[in-house]
Point group: C2
Chain length 216, copies 2
């Protein structure tokens, strides 16, 4: 094993460090956050930091920097209180990634990258029409992570729009079938393949053999 | 598309809601957090909420509930200030999942699930010997998410131990080659396949066609 100390990491070339440290937590969710500014211009931005915070009531979080791009998303959420979270599909991940380019305020990433805004009467901000899982969110609170000046933005799920065929009998979502991708580092997009769906673990349970792709 | 409102979600059977809402953010990182209690008993717990917070300095976060299992992890971190984050590999994900069983305080999950604690002189808590990516962490701060009584625990990376063969030339980590799995919902374990590694996006860049598994 190669060992990198804190000092080794801090001494890395910036680009190398970004690639390396963004990959060390493992796979990340791949979502587009849709918002609207006060002039009704639609904004769309790729985020790999959307996380589950709770199910009852249903809360999701995401991390952003208050002082750097994509600040449009944060400003819009604080101004309007609403946003949408849309799964990035393997058929449009290059368009999703292109939303990370620094477009000017007033330019809509929907137009620039060729994705379709889908307004709904139930929420004042646009969904991504092409997405197979779309989540309507209401802003709840934010937490300032003082250690490195980032923000955790917390929101409540107000509705979920989803292709019915990808909901399993136990209400788990078949994310392989959904075409949802996973992100590694800052620019790796991965397709997935379910190895196994395990059950609720209790002490004394026998531990099954790991399944391997190709020998199921 | 099927629509679930907030009220529909709140009215679901608890198990269904857990499966559903845990899957809506998309794929999650799959890690084992290693800690030590004040009696030097090693603890190991599966977490799907480890996220990147910053690269310079390098910070990671994870989410836990202060009042429910796996509280041993949180107690130990607050008592000792150190913990390890270890990628879950496709060869041992069933053992990793079994750490979610409610073992008694004083029972080490390492023993119960058959993973090997790897003490190092550089940090006072154990790594998982079988992991191909291991991260040594020092506790920094925590944030109480009042909306649903969860905690975001923030830590600083003090060292990274990693198989040298999975580090790419640009210092991104080849997570497919690492054997790192992704989690969906509360019990789905997925193997991955890189579709594409995109570059830094700038306005005006042409948007490439999406690559598909099988026709590369």
């Amino acid at each position: 094993m190669k060992r990198f100390t804190y000092d080794d990491i801090m001494a890395m070339v910036k680009e190398d460090r970004l690639h390396f440290i963004n990959a060390v937590p493992g796979f990340k969710s791949a979502n587009l956050i849709g918002t609207k500014d006060l002039n009704n211009c639609y904004n769309l931005a790729v985020f790999s930091s959307v996380i589950h915070l709770g199910s009852h009531p249903p809360y999701l979080g995401f991390v952003t920097r208050p002082t750097t791009v994509p600040r449009h998303t944060l400003d819009n959420i604080l101004n309007t209180a609403y946003y949408t979270i849309n799964h990035i599909h393997k058929d449009f991940y290059p368009s999703a990634h292109q939303t990370s380019a620094k477009y000017e305020r007033g330019e809509s990433e929907f137009d620039k990258v060729g994705l379709t805004p889908e307004p709904m009467s139930s929420i004042a901000v646009p969904y991504v029409q092409e997405a197979s899982v779309k989540i309507g969110m209401e802003y709840v609170e934010r937490h300032h992570i003082t250690a490195n000046d980032t923000l955790l933005v917390v929101g409540r799920i107000i509705e979920i729009l989803i292709q019915e065929s990808i909901i399993q009998d136990d209400h788990a979502i078949d994310l392989d079938k959904a075409g949802t991708v996973a992100i590694s580092g800052i620019e790796g997009y991965h397709q997935t393949h379910l190895l196994d769906q395990l059950g609720y673990a209790q002490p004394g349970d026998p531990i099954p053999e790991p399944k391997q792709k190709g020998n199921e």
